[in-house]
């Protein structure tokens, strides 16, 4: 199976947001691979490998649209085990989801993968749009919010368990298809390719890059492209005007007993 995994860099979500002139101050940002995208890389590797024998049948290609520095995040995906990378030059602030989707469509046309596997949302913008837009433009079936993926029909289709409001919805997609992943896709038994023995349990979470992986990643191919090379002429229709920080909640109080709590909820907060 040939899998294309679009990834995005985001400022480290654990660090506090700072503002400058009504925009996020990213001057000192620590950039990391968007959590969900990292999970998509993990899921892609699980789909193409035999975790017992270490053999691999298929290819995992990571692609990002971003400035020069974004190559660092591509390398870390290569170090996890992706085979090669495509770096499309782009300036984060000039992009919107639709442009990204159109650019990825051009990459999809050039690479013709069996599957596009991506994070369900970027943890900075929290938009949750790109995958569905790309599926729409590329006329592919889609399964968003994947918690499980099982390869069926001799590798010609997937059954995806999707996290929906009322539980888990199972949806079957013939390949080629597009899947966006949710957090639980990296649980020990969430990806079943029937090549790795079905009872195999992965350790929870995305794999770390080994030292060997990091060394190997340095030699793996990374194609450099521009949007122009890909024939993408779209410009952004969504622009961010301003960023503000929410008002802090007024400081609360510590109560000493259950009785005091109930009294205050009843008399002061008037919620009981």
């Amino acid at each position: 199976m040939k899998i294309l995994v679009p990834i995005k860099r985001v400022p480290d979500p654990e660090l506090k947001a700072k503002l400058k002139d009504g925009k996020l101050d990213l001057g000192g940002a620590q950039w990391v691979v968007n959590t969900f995208d990292e999970y998509a890389v993990e899921a892609a590797l699980r789909l193409v490998e035999n975790a017992d024998s270490g053999d691999r049948d298929g290819e995992v290609i990571v692609v990002t649209i971003g400035p020069d520095d974004a190559g660092v995040q591509l390398r870390s995906c290569l170090a996890m085990g992706a085979d090669r990378a495509i770096h499309v030059q782009g300036d984060d602030v000039e992009l919107d989801s639709l442009m990204v989707a159109k650019t990825l469509k051009a990459v999809y046309d050039a690479e013709k993968p069996d599957l596009i596997l991506m994070g369900k949302q970027a943890v900075d913008g929290d938009a949750n749009q790109c995958g569905q837009m790309l599926a729409g433009i590329a006329e592919l079936p889609q399964a968003t919010f994947a918690a499980t993926i099982e390869v069926v029909d001799e590798g010609k289709a997937l059954v995806v368990g999707r996290e929906v409001d009322a539980g888990v919805e199972y949806k079957k997609l013939p390949l080629p298809a597009l899947v966006t992943v949710d957090l639980r896709i990296v649980s020990p038994k969430s990806v079943v390719n029937h090549v790795t023995p079905d009872d195999h349990e992965y350790s929870d979470g995305p794999r770390y890059a080994s030292l060997k992986g990091i060394m190997k990643a340095k030699k793996k191919p990374m194609d450099q492209k521009t949007m122009g090379d890909l024939g993408v002429t779209a410009t952004a229709v969504v622009t961010e005007l301003e960023v503000t920080l929410p008002e802090a909640r007024a400081a609360g109080q510590i109560v000493e007993s259950v009785e005091e709590l109930v009294k205050k909820l009843h008399e002061d907060a008037k919620v009981l």
């Binding site: 569905q132 889609q142 109560v255």
Partner: protein, 324 residues
Amino acid sequence: MGNVVALCETNGATLRSNALSVISLARKAAELHGGEVILLLVGKGVSAAADDACRYAPKVVVVDNDGLENYLAETYAPILAKVAQDQGASIVCATATAIGKDVMPRTAALLDSGMASDIADIETADTFKRATLAGNAFSRVKISSDIICVTVRQSEFSPADALDSVGTKSDAEAGELNSYGAEFVKLEGGGGGDRPDLNDASIVIAGGRGMGNGDNFAILEKLADTMGAALGASRAATDAGYVPADWQIGQTGKIVAPDLYFAVAISGAIQHLAGMKNSKTIVAINKDNEAPIFQIADYGLVAKWEDTIEPLTAEIAKLKASQV
């Protein structure tokens, strides 16, 4: 300027409560756009809910077709796009439910439109306010496409009231249905039971990893029953399998803003706070007085749940009994 088409989810003969939030947004947007609110019902048998929908808007468009028995983004998105165009829409919107989030970006792609996800407000005809960075920042975005696609955060829009006059219903064709081979297989339900829906409840009780196991949630269920509350959980609790995944509250789970929120044995990670910090009153019960949840709680009780939940349930039951 143009009309506002709002996709509304239905349940038998009525609109789902989440639909009332997108209707609120649609009314505000229609005013800013000088257009009309048009509610759109899509699915097999949705005609049954048309009368209910007509109470909320001057116009209701129904696409009722046997081929739409199960929701699929592949078949729904082209219908949304076509109705939007036929109805002269400048805004197409839905509530950010699992369906809204899945179908609206695909619709935007078909319309070559920009989209604002999970918005907290519409400020001018083309400017929207929305939370980003797990709720740690707000972003104001402006969208320049002819049609703008929007999903709304249910907790930010109070449910719309019915209008005095009743709207008119019309049917529209589904057109050719193409699922691109995708098929619905089955739905495995979570486990909310008879309790109120997390998104609609005015009181939510959420348990975290500190509950230790799934059986211990029974004690929270009893507390919930005394108040008619919904139950939720942190990701650590859902991941550990204590409770179903659809109980998860947070950046990647449900986003709730009830009148009263209890966080029990939850540390208060930013991703969890993203899903509940707009609750009116927050109560935290945690044995660690340094847990970050206490920084946003209105009332904090530093204690073990083992020592507090039963007495709390009894105390609230006593209060309730005195109120009748």
